[in-house]
Subunit: 529 residues, 2 copies
């Protein structure tokens, strides 16, 4: 990197360490932080004139949107599309919402035409596979194609045109981020239909074939590195030394780039070259001078971040890991282990809600136990083993009260001060149940047959297995909040990737190591390992 | 280029100069020349065993095609897609046809499902734009989306999966080239429907946004340069010196590349840097030492070639010229004129058929003239002016007979020996009518409101104007066959490109220079200039 670029980077505002902002949520306001002017604050004291101006600028943008859709396909289009996207950025969030609703409703499909074509279509017989009149068949296929085309909303034209327009793909991702913002506030069916259509389009345009994998290094432009700092979603980059470290000896960073969105990766992955699979994130981020690369035997994927909130729900990482493994193996044949050190973002949320509901049920059961019939209407499950419950009650002392072990655990884990993490006694009492329940969460808690945890599901569908669950692996505020500091190593065995991905896909089966398997009591093991 | 690459290139078979093979027709067998094994000859004496083997290998490929479509989406897919595409290449043309028909018919859409969804769709009312029940609207949009999806043929899955598979996009273009070959032999409606669907898909994937413009130079790999030699469709490259020349001083070559088809351009354009707009192709291809680039004022586009027969009908050149102009202007601000020296591929075909039909009509008119009523039932048009006709009759001598000027002209121009081009007398007699009729062909002969000539239509829709028509500009066999040796200069004026493209698009209006305009008699000028 040259001096000028470095100077620019030094001035670049580093990401704030406020943990609530760590995850770059597609629905958060972060988009506007990235783009000056993208979502101007709504002024509280606007006078009539201002209102009129806003209305006028809304109408101008709507007009350019209309032209962008209805114009003949020539090169004048470029100007119109520029007007439209620039105009869009100048609108208030309120007017953007209004504009997007106009698009969703007024540029929907022509339903009169659809019904007309359906009538024609139903009027002719299905081809029966036998010898048919050629002209008849041609007509049949033509009507079918026309019907298919008529079912495409008119706004597809705008999406298609923007996609082939310089800067248009990026603009569409911003548009979608706005749409997702609006939809979290209110469920508007027409806008949701538009979103689902746009998402389908974006998925096609951003297929792995259209993405290029590049290594990101310290020699890349500051404008690119600044984005790595801004978008790092898993382990925030705190300063320049930290960034340089992640791109230096013993480290790799790879990104998926799209030619239409130059200078910023859509997703990137950070890799550490180590002697052994790391058990804590601290040793990856802050270890002493890294080992010589020639001594490394393990490539550890310790962070994967998507950069575009508007691409939420589109799986860009699908082939990323497989490609990175291929690249690393080619350059460094002495590396034979490919593992991750991954967060478990949904563990605490799941556990706390489980503890809350079960401890309530336990109390209800107690009440019904003491009633005459002796049959509870509800069946509760004690999430804790008897010896775990005893240890918790013994060690909790003044810190948390509760009618049973689960309630004590809930009261210990809920406060965001995480005092339990500073008490040796509590740590040792919480360790066995937390590790055991974490294994259960990762391996047995499913949603539509797939792992409930989003990161687990990501790696499992890519063909990984659950190798090891690590206690106190991430002591950061965020790590304690998400997963009581627990992290997990997923391992990719190149020779098993395809088999594991296939069995996970078809049966939901999760491969895991013997160590992880042991956390589960033998009676619960039907669906795993 | 290094020595090894050069050696490889030296050995590369140069394109044969057989003029019938000059145009790299999408429907020709050239595909198989490019790809060893792509279309094996059908053996004439195959015994029962061989037949059985062929049948068996057909079934294996069909099986892998089936798996490629029906498999769950995992990484095993890669292997299956490889099996399928390798298997496909091993099939005889006959079996490929059989396979493609299976794909078109058996993996078409599920019409029972379509009718079921249509029934559901017709069962609910249109949203009327007023306040509606949210749940109802959600259902409505869901059914609409399902109907839209159900109208997509099942084979779309195969296309989509191939597109995201390494080498798959290239494979799809070869598949389509085969489909087009089959369709020229027989019009099979189901296969035509498949082709039109595949073409739509390819157009989306090959949008200008997905294409990268690169300059091709002598430093590029021999494997790439070999393709330039093989694919040059306008002015065949005869030897290594010729190729080196086209990439050297005073010349540029730019190609559109797609990241999924590395190492070969999908379309490329050759540019000469000159002092003046060239009037003959010979001065471009064989001029003496080129002028210093700093003295050039004109960039002449003298050849545009598409390389993939399977991409026929997909306009890849749309933004190519505009982008090249921008690039050249940026690097060489002293260049202010952007022109082409273009073939007129359809002129002779149009002229000969016009001469044949009109001279027949003329004879019929003569007969009816000599009959008693004096009113002919047909109206013929003498394509020649009186003085042109006289000059032709005077100069034709023994070379061609005929009852009138048009028939003489027809008989002079038809033989592929082109003896007229060696006679000074005939050249001077033919020059005025040929230039005049060529202007008429370019400016006034339309098909669906657009220029009949495909090259003219290409440049006009890109925003060019017709600048000059050049006599004896291409004396090659091909030039004489296509357009009696005439070529045309189209000119791109950067400041008018958008306006001209727009007016051509919306009204079919063709801009031309005063010189070209003069060829047309004043009475005929309504639709031009």
């Amino acid at each position: 990197m040259n001096k000028k670029a470095l100077a620019i980077l030094m001035r670049a505002r580093m990401r704030p360490t406020d943990p609530t902002k760590l995850v770059f949520s597609p629905l958060s306001n972060d988009v506007s932080q990235m783009l000056p002017n993208s979502r101007p604050n709504i002024e509280h004291h606007e006078d009539e004139n201002e209102k009129l101006n806003k209305q006028r600028s809304f109408e101008i943008v709507r007009e350019s949107m209309y032209s962008a859709i209805s114009m003949n396909k020539t090169q004048v289009l470029d100007t119109v599309l520029n007007d439209f996207s620039e105009g869009y950025f100048s609108l208030s969030f309120e007017n953007r919402t209004k504009l997007l609703l106009t698009l969703a409703k007024d540029y929907d499909l022509n339903r009169t035409q659809v019904r007309e074509l359906i009538k024609q279509y139903l009027g002719i017989q299905l081809p029966n596979g036998g010898v048919e009149d050629e002209a008849f068949l041609s007509t049949f296929y033509r009507i079918e194609r026309n019907l298919r085309h008529s079912l495409k909303p008119v706004y597809e034209i705008l999406f298609e045109r923007l996609n082939t327009h310089p800067g248009g793909l990026k603009f569409l991702t911003i548009l979608r981020a706005d749409i997702l913002s609006i939809l979290t506030e209110e469920n508007i069916p027409s806008l949701r239909a538009l979103d689902s259509y746009l998402k389908e389009k974006l998925s096609t345009w951003l297929s792995p074939a259209a993405l290029e994998l590049h290594q990101i290094t310290w020699d890349d432009p500051a404008s690119l590195l600044e984005k790595i700092v801004a978008y790092e979603a898993v382990h925030p980059i705190s300063n320049l030394i930290d960034l340089k470290r992640r791109l230096g000896v013993g480290r790799r960073c790879f990104g998926y780039f799209h030619s239409a969105i130059p200078g910023e990766p859509l997703i990137f992955i950070e890799v550490a070259l180590l002697k052994n699979v790391a058990q804590t994130i601290q040793e990856v981020l802050w270890d002493h001078p890294p080992i010589p690369e020639s001594e490394a035997t393990c490539a550890l994927f310790y962070s994967i971040s998507s950069t575009q909130p508007g691409l939420a729900g589109i799986n860009l990482g699908k082939f990323l890991i497989k490609r990175v493994i291929t690249l690393v193996k080619r350059d460094m044949p002495h590396i034979s282990v490919f593992a991750t050190l991954s967060p478990i973002p949904g563990f605490m949320q799941w556990l706390l809600s489980k503890l809350a509901s079960q401890s309530k049920l336990a109390q209800a059961e107690d009440v019904s136990d003491s009633s005459t019939d002796g049959f509870g209407l509800t069946f509760y499950e004690n999430l804790l083993e008897p010896e775990e419950e005893k240890a918790l009650i013994d060690s909790s002392g003044d810190l948390a009260a509760g009618k049973n072990g689960m309630e004590i655990m809930l009261n210990l884990l809920t406060p965001t001060t995480h005092e339990w993490a500073n008490s040796a006694k509590l740590l040792s009492a919480l360790r066995p149940p937390l590790l055991r329940l974490c294994a259960r969460y990762l391996l047995q808690e499913k949603k539509r047959g797939k792992a409930l945890d989003s990161v687990a599901n990501f790696h499992l569908q890519n063909g990984a297995m659950v190798q090891r669950i690590n206690w106190m692996a991430d002591r950061s505020e965020k790590g304690l909040c998400q997963s009581a500091g627990i992290m997990v190593n997923y391992v990719y065995r190149p020779e098993n990737i395809e088999e594991y991905a296939q069995s996970y896909f078809s049966t939901g089966h999760i491969h895991c190591s013997y160590v992880v398997q042991r956390y589960l009591s033998s009676t619960d093991m039907s669906s795993t390992c």
